[in-house]
């Protein structure tokens, strides 16, 4: 049994799933075991990649006009993925005034959750004035593709190829699922000055 295999079994124990579930996994074989493996990287849901079509944008050389999962996202959920340290963690680098406004005066919980914005990347205030929705989607999916002339540090949130030495449990997975990308894009589209 490989190292990740052992980890999978440990994870089964830790998540408190019943022995029956483990038995089902054993009987059902690789399909379920594979699915379990893919959850342990992000601690939530499987983040499979979807296919998408890149076209030329108005303000950027690349854009993705159609929603990744064919559906419009939920901007409120988008905020949650943007502040989550295990998901987008967008505010680690970008300041967003609209998210800071969610901090309640003197409340540590909302400060911890919505506060402490980094400042090493551009603010996202007014980002929807600078880029259209198709371009915003491209930036979240793969910023290096959106800004080919600038050596951006921003991770590609929905790309699996061309990555070096990815941690076993994360290998082949995207950081943000298609629906979460859409939630974030829906929120970004509201950021107009």
């Amino acid at each position: 049994m490989s190292f990740t295999g052992v980890r999978d079994w440990l994870d089964w124990d830790l998540t408190g799933l019943s022995i029956a579930a483990v038995l089902i996994a054993a009987i059902a074989g690789p399909a379920i075991a594979e699915q379990k493996k893919k959850t342990s990287c992000i601690s939530g849901e499987t983040n499979e990649i979807v296919t998408y079509k890149i076209e030329k944008g108005e303000n950027l050389p690349a854009a993705i006009p159609k929603p990744l999962n064919g559906k419009r996202g939920n901007p409120e959920k988008g905020v949650e993925w943007m502040v989550s340290r295990r998901q987008g963690n967008c505010i680690a680098c970008h300041e967003v005034t609209k998210i800071k406004e969610k901090i309640k005066d003197g409340d540590l919980d909302t400060l911890q959750k919505y506060g402490f914005h980094g400042n090493l990347a551009p603010t996202l205030d007014g980002v929807a004035d600078r880029y259209n929705e198709a371009e915003l989607r491209m930036i979240v999916v793969d910023a290096k593709r959106a800004f080919p002339d600038f050596d951006t540090s921003m991770p590609a949130y929905h790309r699996t190829l061309g990555l070096e030495r990815v941690l076993g449990d994360c290998d082949g997975l995207v950081i943000l699922s298609a629906s979460r990308v859409e939630d974030i894009v829906a929120f970004l589209a509201t950021l107009k000055d």
């Binding site: 990287c41 914005h117 980094g118 540090s153 990815v166 076993g168 994360c170």
Partner: protein, 286 residues
Amino acid sequence: MGSRVLRNLKGRGLKFAAWAGAVAVAGLLSVAAVAEPDGRTEAVKPPSPDHPYPELWSGSHFAAKGTQEMQDDDIENPAMSWYDVGQELWSKREGEANKSCQDCHGDAAKSMKNVGATYPIYYAPWKKLINVENRINLCREKFMKAPPWKYESDDMLGMTIYVKNQSRGVPVNVNIDGPAKPFFEKGKAFYEQRRGQLDFACSNCHTKYWGQKIRMDTLSQGQSNGFPTYRLKWQKPGSLHRRFVACNSLVRSTPFKPGSDEYVDLELYLAWRGQGLPVETPSVRH
């Protein structure tokens, strides 16, 4: 445990006396002394114009005042308990050869004076670089005929801290030329290689954005002159390679093994990025 505490108290008492004496001497000397930049309150100049940083800042520059004070005070600095471990082991005879470090190297204050500032070095018999930890185990196996220590063990951390502490205040001065050159280049390539699901190279944070905020933290230059460092988050000292493992894992990349060639090469490159910063071992970080 009891003897450890007793030893610490004894060690600290002696250290306090030495410290008080040093303060008195420093007071006398301070009139004539020219303050060297310490990389904390004043930047150190980089060794060459093509260096990646225009000015060098130790990690302690970015640390909170309380953390700096904890580091500076040998009685408060929690890593000094490991220094005591190293000091005791220095003269302990071990292995089939029944030898101690002291039997060959004598007084560490003299023989180890610059070691912490000049390692990793190229070691001809192995045709590769070795760092202080590698050197310690080399001595244990070859000359003491004793079993090697595990990389992150208290004994290894203690001896590494004890040895590197002998260079405290000495500017880092590693040799990157001659046979060390290709290994230096490998370390540089490692530093600049994007890796992991987040696709970050070391340089993506530490070259471009030092001094800026990433969520709650201020990005430092990622300098190595204080290692092994007592990390408050770890509640114990950790090796530089433990820090590498943590960094690599943070960007969701498969880390290398502590003590591996990849990390030792990186260690040399990193030391050069801080060439001229004073050794601070053992430093304290949050």
